[in-house]
Symmetry: D2
């Protein structure tokens, strides 16, 4: 499935893995300021702020998986199959189709605070981009350097959750994932104390480093990835330079990397981490790796003309870029 996380050093970083059994041909895509989106339920809408993110571009329409805008606000959509529930358009609401949501928010908000206002009157509709495509079942993380929230549209309506851990995976719904962390509250990056025997001391000892986090789940299910990446992210330490921050971020998401062969989707088909991204939301840089390319590749939105008329697209560098020392 997928995992998203935020990270803060001097700058604010946000990124995600996309885990799936096949790719749809995504590209790093910049949507410039003033780009017009035809809306399914209302008047065309023009973005105020430029965006950079990963998108499948259909015609001139960027179907974003995740993006940041030039104001430092980021957003990512993650699979939420079986729990996402979108509705018919509603009177008096901002009716936004599921696939329009990321440019709708990032194109006009500068912060989570502003996004919260917009979300108060939103209705996410169940219209697909094209009749040949199913409606994706997603929920979203929206974050800036000050806070993160989770947005879910479920049978009971729109839910906005504070996201104090800055992490999102997939099922079950976010409130359960967050409550589930309570079961792991005693885990630690420090070695455990010997309390097994209570007042009756037993001569137990730590025979290895890292035993304070025994109990951390290691499988690839969404709930286990949520717990694992939350632990890694919350305990992460790095220098605050760009290089050290980006490096550490890829180590964080590396803890939930999906290796080919370990998660069978159907006979002979396996889910893998197709790409991993890390956005410097403060500076507008999109870093990524792909399953077959461990080198980090980067696109800087500020090197492009953000008032351009057209989408600016960068096909992914996919093959393993090995540096030969001899």
């Amino acid at each position: 499935m997928c995992t998203a996380a935020t990270y803060k050093t001097k700058d604010f970083y946000m990124g995600r893995t996309l885990d799936y059994e096949c790719s749809y041909g995504e590209e790093v895509t910049i949507t410039p300021r003033g780009y017009t989106f035809m809306m399914r339920h209302g008047k065309p809408y023009q973005t105020k702020y430029a965006l950079i993110g990963m998108a499948h571009v259909a015609g001139e329409y960027p179907l974003y998986y995740d993006a940041i805008n030039e104001k430092g606000l980021g957003m990512a959509g993650l699979n939420f199959v079986g729990n996402a529930f979108y509705t018919e358009p509603a009177e008096g609401k901002d009716n936004v189709a599921q696939f329009e949501l990321i440019p709708w928010i990032l194109g006009q908000c500068t912060s989570v605070k502003e996004a919260r206002v917009l979300l108060e009157r939103i209705c996410i509709t169940n219209i697909s981009f094209h009749e040949s495509m199913p409606v994706s079942s997603l929920h979203w993380i929206i974050a800036d350097q000050d806070e993160a929230i989770t947005l879910e549209s479920v049978r009971e309506g729109i839910k906005i959750y504070d996201n104090p851990v800055g992490v999102l995976t997939n099922n079950p719904p976010f409130d359960r994932q967050l409550a589930g962390l309570n079961r792991y509250m005693g885990l630690s990056a420090k070695q455990p104390k010997n309390t097994f025997g209570g007042a009756n001391e037993l001569p137990l000892q730590a025979y290895s480093r890292g035993m304070g986090a025994l109990g951390l789940p290691g499988d690839l299910s969404s709930e286990s990835r949520f717990v694992r990446v939350s632990f890694v992210k919350m305990n992460s330490l790095s220098g605050d330079s760009e290089s050290e921050s980006v490096s550490q971020f890829f180590h964080i998401l590396g803890s939930v990397d999906q290796q080919r062969g370990c998660c069978e989707v159907k006979e002979g088909a396996y889910e893998i981490t197709i790409y991993t991204s890390c956005c410097n939301a403060s500076k507008g840089i999109y870093y990524y790796t792909t399953y077959e390319n461990h080198q980090i590749t980067a696109v800087d939105m500020n090197k492009e003309d953000l008032n351009a008329k057209k989408l600016i697209r960068f096909p992914l560098v996919c093959g393993e870029q090995i540096r030969w020392q001899n």
Copy 2:
């Protein structure tokens, strides 16, 4: 399989569960002082001390599963299939058949210290009691109020392990079971502290009592029972009266009770806790319950003539003894 444990309040207690898919007709059996055992590899041997324990009596021969003697020394044999290894008789050794071992030790030792001396020259032989019976694969716990040891005869020879936890189950070998406890050293009867986020505090909380022992295994495999009953025993608290001590002891072994249906041995056959025993080794009292009788039944060896010529036998009270209040 089986679980044995010790417990100390004012008196010293020791007992075990016998987990199996069928019973062989065991009885609480007292072997009086001066009882003669014909030995397979040497001269007949006369017990110095009287024993009480659970035995299948074949002819006049008590095949003990577990017993204590009148000096406060106890011993229990537990399944050790695939790891127990008995040999041919060896020159210059005390050659003792596996089924002779409990009366051999308890009939002449007053303490673990004395038993250690005897065990220095022991060879446990692979002779069965009767050609129609296979040789049981067992290892043993030997304990008094001061210490407990585990005795194993494996391919590498005789192993005597200090047993600081006073617990024995089955596979794997005892040194591995004890080392395995290290992985659980951070478990506690107290609530966990919130250390998950390291320096970055997350608002996690204990939503239930008892969360300090999260990670304690709950299944019926021998390694999981070892960990679970060790935790329960080490943290146990009770008054030191006979009634409170005995009651607590049955609660300790109750934590590894095997319920019918939860452990399938072969199609339609299930292992259950056939009986649970608790010996007051200081006073010579044998308490027991059976799967179908929750009431504790007791036999006091000191109410019998310990210089009798014959075994004194008490068939088990097996059906549920319900007390009607109206």
Copy 3:
């Protein structure tokens, strides 16, 4: 905290543990037919059906912890601290104080189906029995031989959940507990198959019986008890005689017994299983054990005058009832 479970052989059984650090002096209490309850929010109410259950009797008022009625309907209240939310009386509702709920339901319903109808118009109010007592925070299991439901009054309102497993513990809310079972769906009473290496076979083997349920939690937290007792109950097998059924039921709840010392509530105070009950709801018999008495004690409501004018009360038999064979 507490655990409740149902069990069905020829008859229908239901019972619970009460886990706490102290007892409030409960008794097995029969409320006869036609007994009048003064209601806090309306007219006095007369029971149609007689009840038997465990109650703290205050004056002539039975504060039931759990009970069954003569029609085979049972109900138990379990701690739900931090999630239970009771309200002010509401217009047009049946306003019932939390402590009135068990006699209100069991006094007039013959089945869960009838209880569902009554619950459609219920409002559970936050009035305490006496100003000196706090309002308990509870949720309830209601069950007959055909089905079980869970009743919760939370901030969002009254919730009625189908309870397909027939088990209730404490926090978190029931829907989460039930959803949490999905993580354990692969556990089994049978031995595991070796699938670790996928197509690349590794020579792994089961070194102990009972390894199919590895992963079952063994601690005393409410969520772990829910999973453990659900597994034990669902896999339970027994003869269908009264004796075998009752015996097996106490083994089921024995799997979540709380041993003194293993769950510290505050410095030096420990939660234990104060009593365990098993009601034959089909025949009106209340069986129980206490922490200090392993023998099963029983009260048969049908041996009493169910048209009596007063409560019929049986103080608990508490000390260890040991049967001496010599």
Copy 4:
């Protein structure tokens, strides 16, 4: 600590992580054929085969952490603190100091089979390379395309274990690690079947992909890393091209990557994965990444003069090598 693994597609790959809180200035180092090692306990020894691996070079002495030779045999030393036990030189043995072991084996053996012969007469001595350096406590994995073995020198003597999983971490001793895998035999890359309720079906379902491996440990302790990387490696699937094989190998070892902050060694000091290597043992290529450089860097031994007189050394490329697309 460290993790080593093997992987086989068309070629044979072997590599490791080095996890520690600081680096000692290691370099990719080629030892040419005919290079002379002064031995501490005997005559100088000349290598027959050239080696490439990671080493700290002291003077002209390569202290290898891991290496392969030109015949496709590989070897890596991993921390084994508290269990490694080296002795005084022994009469009639090949006395080899711990730090001489890798060139001793790889310099003269073409296969594990040949190494086994050499190891029959080995004695690993407790002499340090220099009085200012402690003796490292290590054990070793030795592997070729046909098999892998683990070499341990412990208190009981030299132990050679078949290593069917082709993985090594640290404590406890290897035989225990391998036996420990049995507890995880039921894990799978496929979704779990619903067996929780036995014959009584409960409506449980997999709410996420990847749930067949629930129970896989996710912490950084050596035993958990052993289980996790074993599962990932055994289930790994990739194309057999060089690029795909190498990429997959780094994904395998990525599953046990140690992130800065998650394993505190002492106040403020954290263990991290300093480097990760992947050797194509069939072709003599050494690939590596460092904590701060996600790009794979490579050195091909066959591009160098393997009959050179001196060590050929390649300082590590350490900073993050980001590829800018604009």
